[in-house]
Symmetry: C2
Subunit: 899 residues, 2 copies
């Protein structure tokens, strides 16, 4: 039979392999790969993503699927003897191309019903196991297939355990489990459902639930956050159950081939004895370290898997090494031990902290596993950003109130909040919060995103909170069991003290061994790079072609930019200098002037201040290029718009209130973004530009900057759309230059350029290029105009657009290649036709975004300019872009050689 929708696997053979992630999802492809490698994988089969996509479009499963599934199930049955439910159970798990931990639905122990549970007990000789599996099955089926809240089931268990005075669910007796089964069936009935008795019917319900979970809100949000396309669909994996809850020689766990937090070599994992897999991930019980060394560090001598189940531990170590070597990367493994025998349930590239990413990539290169280029490509911008995260100032006096697991690195300060909604609300108000939860669940994602950091009472290093926080690059401390959180009173107590919502705390999830919770606001420092980080970024520097500059206007920013390795300033916004206390008055005087004369007088007051601003920047950036942009925003931005502000301005300038009000009104604009700004100001009020340019030249002379033939100074005219605009602006600049320089004085070298931020500028770039020496793409405004979307107003529909897949990503974060990018490409080609060495850069916020940088490399820009903190990230991203671009060019060359 031709394989259409179902791919089988069992130890030693499989229909699929690791390369088939599109079709089988990550989990399915890697199960097949592990099976082929001969690892102990319980037999099973994968239903492809195609079936899911078919269901999503047609609202029904494809014809022929049923036969294929029955065929595959028949093979399992033949291998186990008996039938589904009597001799074996299955798990049904989702598995998309990209890992979406905790986002998708899983059903375990599928196949049991009121009758065959006894047969299964008989078959396994373990009635406790049979009833434990049955109650687990009902709970998961109720949750996954019928959408009943999980806490309804957990509540029953808790009540029962309390009554019996036990602390772990494996202490429940068979009679307890039977009671729970009855109670669970009642809960499900109350919700208007009945779990089918027919194991096959159960199976189809679970399969549909897995496929349907692709469209759940939390899955959609997760995909948006991680830039995962909406049309991939998920696969469903049906696999024979092995039972970590069989007895005390059984366990379930998760392991990484190296430490995913630090990158340190050596197996790193956690496990729970007598438990099933979901308990580890859900963070209900706090698991134990796999290795004895890690247990010892926590004063848990002798509790490690290494000591308790040495044979299984030895197998795990062996398989971990084998898989890391095979996949040439850090692997994240799921395993179950049944009666002392190890089974592998999943392997995938492990999520890791930024620090670990650099260390692992670096170490794998040194180990000869991957090339330097591959090592450079192994770290993402998000990981990079993370490594640059804040740490606690070591000189600070701290008052530690608790410790927990260092689940995600970085330190954060904020007010305590207990609900994700409140976190989001306060964030909107500009406040910093720490989200404190007993444990987190996918519903909390919005709040986690809004928080500076996350603190949980339960859950280990692989709990939901830990995984998600690491992905977000947010500090997180997990499993702080000393906390007693009471949602009802919005407070927690620890060590006898009570902390309420609104109190400030500091958390530090950087580890390596423990995470910390401190009272109050502790001073934070930026992080120090590791040796591995420095080595890897050094390799990267030798690959980089794009120059990286910073957008900076204050001396502090310029210093920071230089410190972080910026190779110049790509955008210095002069108007930000206008807002100083003693300046804004002169600026307003200038705006309120009725005549050119009066305007000139006010500008004369600003001149020395602007000159000082520029002088400082030139001194700091000595030897590196600085691009200064002339006044850009509409003038009304400098005036108050409320009555009190208007009166204050009138009073401080000694003029009539009515006159100020009139001017404020006359400058009001319907669409300020498309208004009287940029070069338009220069054309109508040339005296403003004249003052600015004079200040620039005088400052350059005083600072000894860009003199004697060294051309570092770049003057940039914003919002140009017409050739004549830049012609006239250039005439003004050159005229001021001639008026500023004395015959015997030093010669300031300068270039004149334009921001390219209007579609028209791209269309007439060949004309504009003839008048200037450089372009700097202002991709913020170019995106606004090309897409007709105001960045300030996008929020009303951005979520919908991402959810519906109209945007792959927020176009203000990553460049819209097809629209904005196409216009940029056109302008680049036009400019390079005018002069093959025409200087081209970009200074919008996309300048620090790695996906955009890849595109900028592709179209051959000379430099990107971004905010100073993004400079290191942009530098590495530029190196990665150069490598990727080089490989693409090589691939194309090979292809065309073949044709």
């Amino acid at each position: 039979m031709r394989k259409n929708y179902v791919y089988s696997f069992e130890q030693g053979r499989a229909d699929g392999d690791a390369s088939m992630k599109d079709l089988l999802g990550g989990k399915g492809a890697n199960l097949a790969e592990m099976a082929k490698l001969g690892l102990p994988v319980p037999p099973g089969f994968t239903i492809t993503t195609d079936a899911c996509k078919y269901l999503l479009v047609n609202d029904t499963l494809p014809a022929g699927l049923e036969d294929e599934v029955m065929e595959a199930l028949g093979t399992l049955t033949r291998c186990h003897g008996g039938s589904l439910g009597t001799t074996f159970l299955v798990s049904v798990r989702s598995g998309a191309k990209f890992s979406m931990p905790g986002m998708m639905d899983t059903t375990l122990n599928l196949g049991l019903n009121d009758e065959n549970v006894e047969e299964f007990a008989k078959h396994t000789g373990n009635p406790h196991l049979a009833w434990d599996c049955y109650r687990r099955f009902l709970e998961m089926y109720g949750t996954t297939v019928f959408g009943i809240k999980r806490k309804r089931f957990l509540h029953c268990i808790k009540k029962l355990m309390n009554r019996k005075g036990i602390t772990h669910d494996w202490q429940l007796e068979i009679s307890d489990l039977k009671k729970l089964v009855a109670q669970f069936k009642q809960i499900i009935e109350k919700h208007g459902h009945v779990v089918p008795q027919d194991p096959h019917e159960q199976l189809w319900g679970a399969i549909r639930a897995v496929f349907g979970s692709w469209k759940s809100d939390r899955a959609i949000i997760y995909r948006n956050m991680h830039d995962i396309p909406d049309d991939l669909g998920t696969a469903a994996n049906i696999q024979t159950m092995v039972y970590g809850n069989m007895n005390d020689r059984s366990a379930t766990g998760v392991a990484f081939t190296r430490n995913p937090s630090t990158g340190e070599k050596g197996l790193f994992g956690e496990y729970l004895v007598n438990a099933q897999g979901e308990e580890v991930v859900a963070g209900i019980r706090t698991p134990l370290p796999v290795t004895e060394a890690a247990c010892a560090a926590k004063d848990l001598h002798g509790h490690s898997l290494e000591v308790l189940l040495p044979k299984a531990y030895a197998d795990l170590r062996r398989y971990a090494a084998l898989l890391e070597g095979h996949y040439r990367d850090l692997m994240d493994l799921e395993f179950t031990i049944m009666d002392g025998v190890l089974y592998m349930l999943q392997c995938r590239a492990g999520k890791r902290t930024g620090r670990a990413a650099f260390t692992i990539a670096h170490d794998l290169v040194l180990e000869g596993v991957i090339t330097e280029d591959d090592g450079i490509l192994r770290v993402s911008a998000m990981q990079h950003e993370q490594i640059l995260h804040k740490t606690i100032d070591p000189s600070a006096t701290v008052e530690e109130i608790a410790t927990g697991l260092p689940a995600s690195p970085g330190a954060a300060v904020g007010e305590i909040v207990f609900s994700p909604e409140e976190a989001a609300r306060l964030k909107e108000l500009g406040r910093s919060v720490i989200l404190v939860r007993i444990e987190t669940s996918p519903e909390d994602i919005g709040g986690m995103r809004a928080a500076e950091g996350i603190l949980t009472q339960s859950g280990g290093m692989t709990s939901h909170a830990a995984l998600v926080a690491r992905g977000m690059g947010k500090p997180c401390v997990c499993g702080v069991e000393a906390l007693e959180i009471d949602y009802a009173t919005s407070s927690f107590t620890v060590g006898g003290a009570r902390y309420a919502a609104g109190d400030t705390i500091t958390i530090d999830g950087s580890g390596p061994l423990v995470g910390h919770v401190y009272k109050g606001s502790v001073p934070l420092l930026k992080s120090e790079p590791t040796a591995e980080y420095l080595a890897l970024t050094k390799w990267a520097e030798s690959r980089r072609r794009l120059r990286v500059r910073a957008n900076a206007e204050t001396p502090e920013e310029a210093r920071e930019a230089r410190r972080l390795g910026a190779e110049g300033i790509g955008l210095s916004r002069t108007e930000h200098m206008f807002f100083g206390d003693n300046r804004i008055t002169a600026v307003r005087e200038m705006i309120l002037a009725d005549t050119t004369e009066d305007r000139r007088m006010a500008l004369a007051k600003l001149l020395p201040m602007q000159r000082d601003d520029f002088k400082q920047i030139f001194e700091i950036m000595a030897g590196l290029p600085v691009t200064i942009r002339l006044l850009d925003p509409p003038l009304h931005e400098f005036l108050p718009h409320d009555e009190v502000g208007i009166k204050n301005v009138a009073w401080s300038l000694g003029i009539d209130v009515e006159r100020v009000r009139k001017r404020v009104n006359s400058l009001k604009e319907f669409n300020p973004m498309l208004g009287f700004r940029g070069v338009r100001l220069a054309i109508v009020f040339p005296e403003i530009v004249e003052m600015q340019v004079r200040a620039i030249f005088e400052a350059a002379i005083e600072a000894g900057y860009s003199l004697n033939g060294e051309t570092l100074l770049e003057i940039m005219v914003p919002l140009v759309g017409f050739q004549k605009e830049i012609e006239q602006a250039a005439i003004m600049i050159n005229r001021v230059y001639l008026g500023t320089c004395r015959d015997d004085g030093p010669i300031v070298s300068y270039k004149i350029g334009t921001m390219i931020e209007l579609p028209r500028a791209c269309k007439v770039a060949h004309q504009i290029a003839q008048c200037v020496e450089f372009f700097s793409f202002g991709t913020n405004d170019l995106t606004q105009t090309t897409l007709g979307i105001s960045r300030d107003d996008i929020k009303t529909f951005l979520e919908s657009y991402l959810a519906q897949g109209i945007f792959d990503r927020d176009p203000f974060t990553s460049i819209d290649v097809e629209g904005v990018g196409a216009l940029m490409k056109e302008a680049v080609e036009a400019a390079r036709r005018v002069d093959p060495h025409f200087k081209l850069g970009i200074c919008g916020e996309h300048g620090g975004d790695e996906k955009s940088i890849l595109f900028f490399e592709e179209i051959g820009l000379d430099y990107v300019s971004c905010s100073p903190p993004r400079v290191p990230i942009a530098r590495l991203a530029a190196a990665q872009a150069a490598i990727t671009q080089g490989r693409m060019t090589a691939t194309r060359a090979r292809h065309s050689a073949l044709v």
Copy 2:
């Protein structure tokens, strides 16, 4: 000597000819042409526009010019004997490529000084002439070269005439003239100037003044209004004076080869006996008709040139016929008669009313002078607009308060204003005004533009007021001598009654013989087309390729569109229908709804209303296509923004004020133009689109519109930028369609299309075109986004941009071909690659602009859509575009055949 800057002419020969307007200006080129034709042109020479351009750029006249001028002057001197000032005088007149009447400076009688005035008197044997010329020279030189206000000189003359009790300046005696000369010199001295005694120095002053006047504010404004480029420069014409003020057998006048108001055949002109040319144009004295028939019609029997100077009249008739035949157009002639002998001073294509333009073009075709194609090309959109002007309702009872000259056709109603400033101010407030002036001058242009119509006390059919009003297509009545205007009290009296500023009057300048002034507001009718108009437009229809539709949303507009020949509706904005009294409440309810359910309930109330709207339009437009655009504007446009409005809405919907305020605030946008609107609304609130589309289909079925395979209905989705947007919108529309049609019901045929109004849409047009059946370019928004200019905010810099030549024209009036046009062209080509017959239209306001239509023809659009009143204009413009495009194609074909 090679001719660089100076081109001479004299009766029978000339260096230049009529084709050299770029270099010699219109006046200079035509003087050369007339001289070559052997007409009696006083000898002289033209300094080229190149010299002017050189001066404008370099602030100095070009080297070598002085030698060339002296050489040319030497020729004149040799021809007259004696020297400049003693035996002959010269005029110095400007003359640009395009006529700019009254805008530029002129100096007559140049050459006289305190000494040679007596020699000149002796030479001419006419001391009165000599002193009259001298005082005229001083007045003009003072005005032109020194910029002294003309009324300072006129005031002296008036005082003297009053004292002497005379009414005409030619009644002044020699001693009076000498007094005036002394007084004028004092005036000039008081202003800090002295008129040079050296005739050559006088000449250079006048030449510089002519060139300098190119940059005067009024010239700049005139050029902006008439789309004349700023960099053309003007020529200067130096010509031997002939004296219309020599004696009673002398005269000066202006004539048209046909009636420029009606187009009627036969010489049409005015003259003044014993006067110089400027007096006719300036409207100081009211001139007499040239022909006896015209005099007789005014009860001025025997006062015509025909009777008084028959020889000169016969020559004038002869030359007029000769020139019309030569130039194949209506000609505007200036002449002077010196002692009975006719001299020709200027000829140019005559400005004409719209009605005349059609009649003359038609008649010239019938006379075999020009081809039908040329006839069609002879009428401009402005003239066309004019012929469509309003007339007085013949059934109305009117109370005539005065009559005057029918200077510019059309009737207008408005409040009386006496100053151009006030006219502009009231216009801003949305009020209609009639500008009433004693006479107008170039400073009044702004006010004339703001007024509905213009009324003057003095001045003839060729006065400033008349010429400018005709150019603007504004009704104008001139020379209403019965008016006594008193600017001081802002009132005029006529027939014993007093009318003050703010009183309403009606004027009618349509003629043919007299213009009327009526009391109060008289009902107006649209004009009836002439037979010639109908014939010409019928010829045009056979040339037209572009279809012309109208933008219409109300039944009235649809009816008007159909009446005016629209071939369908190209844009029906559904949101305008939302503002009705009973609808806006439901619309607001819909916007304020918190849930989809509530929104659906409010929409259900709107459904029957929208259905009715559409039904009416479909019935009116039966058999013609209608494009309905789905909801476009941001929702906040439907909510009040002031406190009172918010309270009213809350009250009328019975909901909490705070909730309304919150919603109003949450919908507020920084840049509404780039906000939550267009297809974005459809994506986020599909229920709105569903209601609209359901209403459309139900209305089509009820109206029997677009049924049974006749595809007339076009549904248009606005503001699309991404392929997935239109894909999803199309799915919604098609789904509603399936839900609306009953299986056994009639089948509505429809097309789905998009507005192309974002640069991104143009760049991805190949993708969008695959999902729809037509594009309609929304050039208003496409211009806003491509240029980054908000139409509502452009006013702050538009004037500067036009004045400095950055814009040739307001880009919201005429399409920006290089920017917006280039994007359109790209989209057109992409769509036609998808389907060579892909339907393409345009529905922005450029759809009614003739310059834009030429471009739309060039890129091969299928139709334009404009406001109903512009439909006839667009139809003719489309025919002209087809002819022009055909000729360009033919020319290109010839060129490439040669290559």
